[in-house]
């Protein structure tokens, strides 16, 4: 019944979970194709609280910069996600630049990126 024991318990559980999780991930960590820089968690946070979408963009940009600096391939979709966050913030030209980078990195994205860029060019021209 002493309170210390009770407060320790959840911590021990968390620790155990962390160990199990790291063991589980150990299997695939070496086997990973990409680094994602907490993309999932940050996207989840931005869906949970829309005021966090700028934080998502900043974290993605920092991650991409780190990957490029290290000469590593940036995971599929990340350049475009940054572009879309700029688009939603009303910055079309910056968005286009990111869509171009997605297209250059991933040929599978060509059709979508090209049509998005063309759309934005049309909108910019009509301004």
């Amino acid at each position: 019944m002493n309170p210390i024991r009770l407060s320790r318990k959840p911590r021990r559980v968390v620790l155990l979970l962390a160990v199990v999780a790291s063991l589980g991930m150990g299997g695939c960590a070496s086997n990973r194709l990409y680094q994602w820089g907490d993309y999932e968690d940050n996207l989840y946070a931005a869906y949970k609280d829309t005021t966090k979408s700028e934080a998502l963009r900043l974290k993605l940009e920092a991650h991409i910069q780190a990957m490029e600096k290290a000469g590593q391939k940036v995971a599929p979709g990340l350049y475009a996600e940054v572009g879309t966050l700029y688009l939603q913030a009303g910055q079309r030209k910056t968005a286009m630049g990111w869509y171009q980078r997605e297209r250059a990195a991933w040929p599978e994205s060509t059709q979508l990126m090209t049509s998005m860029i063309q759309n934005l060019e049309r909108l910019e021209a009509a301004k």
Binding site: R32, L33, Y34, Y47, K48, A75, P76, G77, E108, T110
Partner: protein, 224 residues
């Protein structure tokens, strides 16, 4: 007069449930690898993950689930279209709800994005059931993929449950009781669906008998 009928009914019920149990156990014992011929014929390189359909009562669940799908599929070696960009593009086309999107012809969606395949997910269950001392968190998803022509390439259903706490050997019963109350309260305040969802995805796409074949980028990495 009614008694034999009742017992007959009861016996039949027992038989049926035993049969059901037997089927269930067979299902567990022999997890034969799935027929992947449709998938292998289509040989997709790129997969469009569209917003999720919700059959649960939690309106936030589809977005949460959406955020967990890119990584496992991309790590399998496919180009995965950026899920948030996809969602925004569909919204600009007037498609806001997962239901509306899932009603679109799959071939048309694939064509709109230039994707080789489309991945759909439906949330069947996403809830936490509270008893006095324990909480059971359940997620249940249907997953399926269609090809360029709208044909179904692959499908799977996954149900996962998580019950926090228990097994406090060596702790006094009173302390144990309190711990359970606390952990039930914690789960009630913030049921932890996300690890469960990630685990479901991992089993479906990577570990389980239904795991999709390795995509082109995974194969390329293996050749190195």
């Amino acid at each position: 007069m009614t008694r034999p009928l009742q017992s007959g009914f009861a016996r039949r019920l027992l038989q049926i449930s035993l049969l059901g149990l037997a089927f269930f156990m067979v299902g567990c014992a022999t997890q034969a690898p799935r027929d992947m011929s449709a998938f292998e014929r289509a040989k997709p390189r790129s997969i469009l993950v569209v917003p999720v359909v919700n059959r649960s009562l939690d309106v936030a669940a589809p977005n949460y689930v959406l955020s967990t799908l890119s990584v496992p599929v991309a790590e399998k070696g496919y180009y995965v279209f950026p899920v948030n960009t996809t969602k925004v593009v569909l919204e600009q086309e007037g498609l806001y709800e997962g239901d509306k999107i899932h009603e679109q012809p799959p071939a048309q969606l694939a064509k709109l994005f230039g994707a080789d395949a489309v991945l759909y997910v439906r949330i069947n269950q996403w809830d936490a059931k509270y008893a006095v001392l324990t909480t059971v968190v359940t997620v249940d998803f249907d997953y399926w993929m269609t090809g360029k022509d709208g044909e179904v390439l692959w499908k799977e259903r996954k149900r996962m449950q998580y019950q926090p706490n228990n097994n406090n050997a060596g702790v006094s019963p009173m302390a144990q009781l309190l711990t359970q109350v606390i952990s039930a309260a914690v789960a009630r305040a913030a049921p932890n669906y996300m690890p469960l969802t990630r685990q479901a995805n991992e089993e479906v796409f990577i570990l389980g008998p239904s795991a999709i074949p390795d995509g082109p980028y995974r194969m390329k990495a293996a050749q190195k």
